[in-house]
Every structure is written in C-alpha cells, then in structure tokens.
Symmetry: C2
Subunit: 360 residues, 2 copies
C-alpha cells in the first residue's frame, strides 16, 4: 500500500451516504481486524465518523487506510499504557505512549473536564500522541459539561516556513475553541494558522486547477500557483508574520511544553508510517459556571450570535457564526447519512476485501 495523501474528498454532489451506526460499525470492524482492541476500535470509529458527519472529511474516514497502514507498520502502539506523568490540581501532562491519537485525546479531554469541575479550569498537555482528527472535536468535548473547550495541536507534517524563511519548520498548527450557547448551536472555531490547508493544495492538483495567489510561495518568495510544485514551496501563514507567530506559539504550548516534537523533530506522517511521531496537543476545559450563571451566559452568547446574524451584509454575502455550518451538516448526516466521496468508498471496499470482512 502506498502512503495515503491527505487531500480532502469534500462533500461533493456525487457523495454516497451511509447511516452513522453502519459506518461506525464498518470502521470499527476494520480497526479490530488491524488488531486494535475492540473497545478502542469502537471509540476511534465513532470519532472518525463524527469528523465526516460534521464536514471535516479530510480528517475522517478518509484517513482509515493511512491509520491502518501505520498500525500495521508498527508506527502505533496498539496497547498503550497512557499515564499522567504530571498531575496537579488544574494541570496535567499525559503521555499517550504512542497510542491512537483519538484515544489519547479523549482521555486528555476527560482529565481536563475533571480538573475543571474541581478548580474551574483544567489544562492538559499531551505528548507521544498521534494524529487525532479535527481540532474542533476535542475543543467541543467539554461542551457536554457546559464548559468552554480550547484545543491546540502540532500538525503531523511541516508545510510552512517561518516568516522570511524557506525551511518548512512549522506545520499549519491549528487552534480550536468551543463555547456553549443556548438556542443557537455552540460557537466553534477550528482554524489552521495557514491561509489554506495542505489538503486543499492537493485537491487543486487532483482537480487540475492552479492555486489561488496568496496560498503558497516558492523558495524565492514568489507566488507558487502550480500545485505540482507544492512540495517545493511553503504555505503562507494568515496575516503574514502574525500567523507565523501564532503557529510558533502553538508549537511551544502544544509541543515544547509537553516534551513533544516540534520543528525538525516533526515526522511527516504522510511519508513515514513507522516512526513514532511524538505528537503534542493540549486541551483545556473552562467551567462557565465559575464565571457567571450558566443560563445567563448561554443567553448572552445567543444574543451575540443574533446581533451578528442580524447585522447588514455585504452585497451577495452571508454572515456565518463559526460552528453553525458544522451543526447543520451533523443534523443532515444524522438524517440522510454521512457523505463519503466515491474514491473513499472504493478505498474502503478494497480494505474490506483485504481484511475479509463484510463490505460497506
């Protein structure tokens, strides 16, 4: 099996839809066939399908072949002994023992929520984790306890140079923040610190389209618009030096502070399926009720959303609150099934045949 590229398949018109429980069971079966413990396989499957259900299809079921390849190559510990190497009233450092990122981050979020319930906030740093899917998923976990969630991560491949430089020392290190609302969907921001994700660049290559100006530069600082040369260039950070600075700080907080990989230590998990990635993240849970009455807060968030939604728009434009598009996609996926691109479906069918399990 060749390394799987990280292009987003996108919710296209030709997508096929599958009921959530059916798709979860299929993914869990494959992961179990790859010898993950069944309970862990189910947890990972649930989160992977949840990514597709919310529209983060570049971080969902699409990744299954790559995950299985890494598990089989020995790049993932199937039986990690996760442990808190630091444990304080409001902070902890979790060593994921190179387990599946979804399992490590679920544990980290649970610890953050426990600490927050006790002290008002829980900040849990993580090392020796792996790619864990969309950032929003972990920022959103504390919402179930009426907590605000914050998530930072080091991406699993460096595609961005420092501002003014040419060496790809930075990933598109994402930040996600989730805030509970009342009648409005939770406000959830999930953003990379680059103008475009590298997966979008790969999609342009697949589609035979040039890259828009402002996405990438080449080694001379000139605009790079031919996606076939993307590996010779650098993604551009949002706001120039600002996005570079933000990616750097996220690297220090999610990586260096936790003893996780950053800079030249980062393993390109698209090109290498066996090396330990030592992926760093951190997840934070903030207990809203420690600041103000929960219902009053939710009403205030609703009011902010309504004020923004009710404000005048540019000609032909609409105003979105972060998170509401995902919430609509989740509702749609529950009703109609989770959309998968035909290419992804074909890859899943190949895997089913390979493992001798029932087809999708």
């Amino acid at each position: 099996m060749t390394p799987v590229v990280a292009a987003r398949s996108g919710p296209r018109e030709d997508a096929e839809r599958f009921p959530i429980p059916h798709l979860e069971a299929f993914v869990a079966t494959i992961l179990t066939a790859a010898e993950l413990p069944p309970a862990d396989a189910q947890t990972v499957a649930r989160l992977m399908v949840s990514a597709d259900a919310r529209g983060a299809d570049g971080h969902g079921v699409f990744r299954l072949p790559q995950y299985v390849q890494r598990i089989q190559a020995g790049g993932i510990n199937r039986h990690p002994q996760m442990r808190l190497v630091q444990d304080h009233p409001a902070t902890a450092l979790l060593d994921g023992d190179n387990g599946m990122g979804h399992l490590v981050m679920s544990r980290a979020a649970a610890v953050a929520m426990e600490k927050s319930a006790s002290t008002g906030i829980g900040w849990v740093g993580v090392r020796y984790s792996n790619h864990a899917g969309p950032a929003a998923m972990y920022a959103a976990m504390p919402l179930e306890k009426n907590m605000i969630g914050l998530y930072l991560a080091i991406g699993n491949a460096n595609h961005m140079a420092p501002w003014g430089g040419t060496e790809l020392l930075l990933s598109t290190n994402p930040i996600a923040i989730a805030v509970p609302a009342g009648t409005h969907p939770p406000v959830i921001l999930d953003m990379a610190t680059s103008v475009a994700a590298f997966g979008k660049v790969k999609r342009k290559l697949q589609d035979g389209e040039p890259l828009p100006l402002g996405w990438m530069i080449d080694g001379m600082g000139q605009p790079l618009t031919d996606p076939a040369h993307a590996h010779d260039g650098s993604l551009l950070p949002i706001g120039g030096p600002k996005g570079y600075g933000l990616a750097l700080m996220i690297g220090l907080l999610a990586g260096t502070l936790n003893g996780a990989a950053f800079g030249r230590e980062v393993v390109d998990f698209n090109a290498d399926s066996h090396s330990i990635t030592n992926t760093g993240h951190c997840v934070v849970a903030i207990d809203v009720a420690r600041f103000m009455d929960l219902d009053a807060f939710k009403a205030a968030v609703d009011a902010v959303c309504e004020q923004i939604h009710g404000s005048p728009t540019l000609p032909g434009a609409e105003i979105r609150i972060p998170g509401e598009h995902s919430a609509a996609l989740v509702a749609e996926s529950r009703e109609l099934g989770v959309p998968l691109a035909p290419a992804v479906v074909r890859q899943l069918e190949l895997m089913a045949a390979e493992f001798g399990v029932n087809p999708l």
Copy 2:
C-alpha cells in the same frame, strides 16, 4: 481638549529620548495632578513608559492626554474598589470597578500567578476595566515567576465587521502569549486579529499616503484605500473568516464570559470620554515547572529559536522570533532613553503647563 486620536507616533528618526525614571516621574506627576492616588499614578506611569520602551508607542505615553481627559470627565473611577466576584482554586473573575486598566490588569495578573503557583494554572477574567496598554505587557507579567502568560482583550473601539457583514461589531481584539526562554529573550507574540491596526490607518492619513490593498474595505466590499474615508469602512481580519472567528472567540472569552461589553455595547473610547467602557480582558498564567523541568524547558525554547534563526531565509529577508525586536528596543531605551515623537513631546509640555507642573 479634543478627543485624542489613536495614531501611532512611531519611533521616527526625529524622536527625542528621555531617561526612563525621568519620564516615569513626569507621567506620574501629571496623573497625580489629575487626582489619581500617588501610588496608583506611579504604577500606571511605569507601565505606560514600559510600553514606549518596548516600541508599543501607540499604547504608551502618547495616550496620556486621553487618559487624563477620561479621568477628568468622570469616565474613570479614581478610587476603585476592585474585588473578586468569583474566586475558585484556579479561576477568578475580577471586577475592576472602572479603575484605570493598568491597575486592574496588574491585579488580575497577580491573582493569576498566585493561583498558578497553587494549582498549575490561573485564569482570571476581568470586567469593568479600561484600556490598559499593549497586550504583551500583561502576557509578559507571569514570566517573572517562570510562568507562561496568555492575555486576551476586547479592544476599546469597534473597527471591524463580521466576515460578510458591514456593521462594525468587532474590535481588533488582540491576543498575546509570552513564553520564557533561557539565553534567548522571552518569546512574546502580541497581535491584533485585523491585518492592520486602526492606528496605522490614522498614521497613513497623517502622512498623506493611501492605504495598502487588503487593509480595509468599504460598505460595498470594495478595497478602501483613501484613509480619509476610513470611518466609513471596515478593517479586514487576518485570513478572512479565520481572523473574524478569532476576534469573535476572543470577544466571547474576554468579554461575554466576564459580563463585559461586546458587540454593540462597546464604547468608542476615542469619541466618548465619560461613559463607563466595561472593558473585558483575561489573563492566564501557566506554571512551566508543572509540565517539565524549568531549565530543560528554557533550553528547549532556546533550541527552537536557534533552529528558526539558523534556517535559510528568502532573498533579502530576515527571520524574527516574536519578542526579540521588543527586547532590543527595551535595551536601547534603557541605554539611550525612551523615544517620543516630537508631537507627543509637545502635547506633554502643554499638559505640564496646563497642570502647572515642571516641564518634561
């Protein structure tokens, strides 16, 4: 006195330099003459001069006339009874009772550090504060205890529309993060969520120069390049919807969560010197030693800085680590004095005459 505009004076060639203690004493004298208690006047003066010393001249002594105007107009409480309206092991909510922002935020940072020393992290939300100067200053306070600092704030005037909208519901809400290093200066990011600060727009107006493309748009979404029409347009967020999303989340965390003003509630403190601004901020202190050995962490941060500095540059470019330029300016200011633009010096001399105190 007419309302003071928030243009940056900038460290120009024609700047005059003043020794730090001398400038601090002058500012404290003026603030005392405006009937701030002497100890408070000294604290505010020290922080205001510190802003200029680090190059944040748009948030330093330049603001003195505006602050005095607000104090005299009754828009600032000279004798605030600050209190923790919420106080938990790792979080607190500080009501600043409409005191000077510098005093409120110094108190908030102290509380955050105390809580962090006890639990690993302290997150302090603030309401009923005021403009407090550069974000970096408060993110940097925890450095003295070998803690990482994080600061979020709601700006004191709305200059940015939601993405797709035209109503100025957002400020350029800044974020600052400070991380201690070993031999390298602390890594300190201080960024607005807009491409350009509104002060820079005003500077272009003063200098008779057009605005670069990408700074602002007009009410039809077209590029706005004439700074004389800046008040009819919107600053653009970094990364389009990303910067908008970040400004919104900072608003929810620094404002809504603390019961502080956000959206239409925000008072334009440049145009109105008497209304209570109910400015919201939050400051966070994270105790590095709760994650890893302090010296090992500092060495790791140095290694990241050296890796980035030692990496190849674009033709004619240099690579900067956030915070090192400010550190160099601080060293220069200590040696040569703090630079003030001639227009600022003239304004200070006018104030000295007005209050009958010794000239600068």
